[in-house]
Amino acid sequence: MKLKFVALALASALSVNAQAQTEIQWWHSMTAVNGEWVNDLAKEFNAKQKEYKIVPTFKGSYDESMTAAIAAFRAGNAPNILQVFEVGTATMMASKGAIVPVGKVMKDAGYKFDPKAYVSAVAGYYTAPSGEMLSFPFNSSTTIFYINKDAFKAAGLDASKPPATWPEVTLAAAKLKASGHKCPLTIAWQGWTQLESFSAWHNVEFATKSNGLAGLDARLKVDSPLHERHIENLANMAKQGLFVYKGRANVPEASFVSGECAMITTSAGFYGNVAKNAKFGYSLATLPYYPDVEGAPQNTVIGGASLWVMSGKKSAEYKGVAAFFDFISSPEVQSASHKRTGYLPITTAAYQLTEKSGFYKEKPGTDIAVQQMIRKVTDKSRGIRLGNYVQIRQVEDEELEQVWSGKKTPKEALQAIVKRGNEHLERFQKANKS
């Protein structure tokens, strides 16, 4: 009897040792094919080594998983890694002590962490003014331009030369309309494409303090003459039926894929949908710009999400997190992910590896997004980090809609955006005082 007991105790002790794998909880919001991508990354990493085990858990959409993480953190059981969308960056950063900067995690675990290896426009978004990288870019996309080649041909336009500037876009739209096309141009993610990315693309301020990167007292600057000029242009196009508003967020994308609208500005991530579902010839192009603005085109800002490391966990777990981040930033893994999902590669090495493999030649247009980003950034184009940003995006939507429906002038709307947006920024500043 005693022997049995001892044997059992020994067996359990041994099995505990054998299972001394450190588990790392990773909460994400990737569904369908992207969800498979996440699970495969975890599987690969777990298969390569036995010390750590990454456990990815789908926790709903970006805002749902953030709510879950906040609740869990307040109850003392946050995950190790949390995927947070780009508009939540300021919230994550400003919560003092809730997160551990990625740069610190890597350094503490003994990894050589060179921020310069990362594409500056991508990593810059997630970097503190001090240069320390706060979160790990994971799935990043940017704003580009798509055109319907068949519609162009039918309107007598040269489908192999997509309009590169806004004046050219207006001309093309007029020709499309003249040839009977009901929706020459539409816009998705209007705040992101027409105000934020627009500002960076033209190297003008979207907000003060380097668009918020340099301090919580940043305030919006979208009522500038250039912004007003652009929204005025779009408003006129709307009046003439050249630009048709098709909804908020990515809802307008459906009207491009169906062939209804001939041109659209939206995320690079839309490519997969177009490739699969469009029944017409299409082309990817760089975002249009105003040629008379000095410094344009500069670079565009990213969308998507990054991985944040939560505080308050065991030190062995942090080592595991560092090992995982090192794994997914290797050029091979990066390049494979980029090819699979369409999200941007975050290191220049990964970009070069993809180029060498001939991927961009095979699938023309897939490198447009990278080309827009792989430039030296300026203080005005490094990225945007503003608090309460989700609400500010909604303000942008509400005010711009009133311009498209003719209720407000562009000037009124932009001033309203600045006024209401700044109220949100003030609130955020107050709530996150050091």
Binding site: A71, A72, A75, A254
Partner: protein, 283 residues
Amino acid sequence: MVERNSFLTFLAHAIMILGVAVVAFPLYLAFVASTHTAQEIVQAPMPLLPGGHMWETYSKALIGGGAGAGSTAPVAHMMWVSLVTALVITFGKITISLMSAFAIVYFRFPFKGFFFWAIFITLMLPVEVRIGPTYKVVADLGMLNTYAGLTIPLIASATATFLFRQFFMSVPDELTEAARMDGASPMRFFIDILLPLSKTSIAALFVIQFIYGWNQYLWPLLATTSEDMYPVVVGIKMMVAGGDSQNEWNVVMATALLAMLPPAAVVILMQKWFVKGLVDTEK
């Protein structure tokens, strides 16, 4: 109903058909959408008649688009979790509400008014608003990732109590008097007389609460820590691409309709109980 008025009967059918057509049309559309390919749906306007891709879409929905679909938990297990959760919530809520409503309507006790309003106020602040603090309470009690944690917090609202209170108020006093004169104890009255009378209300509430429990999304998402305690509604969300990726509308509709089958079955089954209850209460 009582007289054979053929005009009224015709009118009744006409109105019912109109009502059903309007109310069921969106569901019909969902079904049609699930039988086409994603491309066909996106080319406006979508055809109004079912297409030929039904098997393709539904097997995709059940088995998953590729190797290793978004969720690691098999659909069958998720349905089981949903079933247990929905049933526990339903039975739990109906039971405690019957007892509370009985106490409030048929007894006089100190602070009765206070308790009535306390229970009633739970209608005024839905789960979503207090979800953060509720999570903390559940976590502190060690109930995360358990069936108890999934169900008990959702029992804390007064819909059922309110309904039963309304119903009990309308029960004739003569019945109560007769019971008291017969020397029956309150519980006797409750079980032998009140409950049978309440059959239709209980049946209606059963349907409502079952569906309420079945369709829960946000709370299970927060209150579970591993994907194998996810109910089926969460599983659906996982298969639906959002944000940048494409939305496969046909698969979305198919999975939504599949997830709707058990609640729909409950509705159909309870129909029979309705009729039975009606026959029983004919005195």
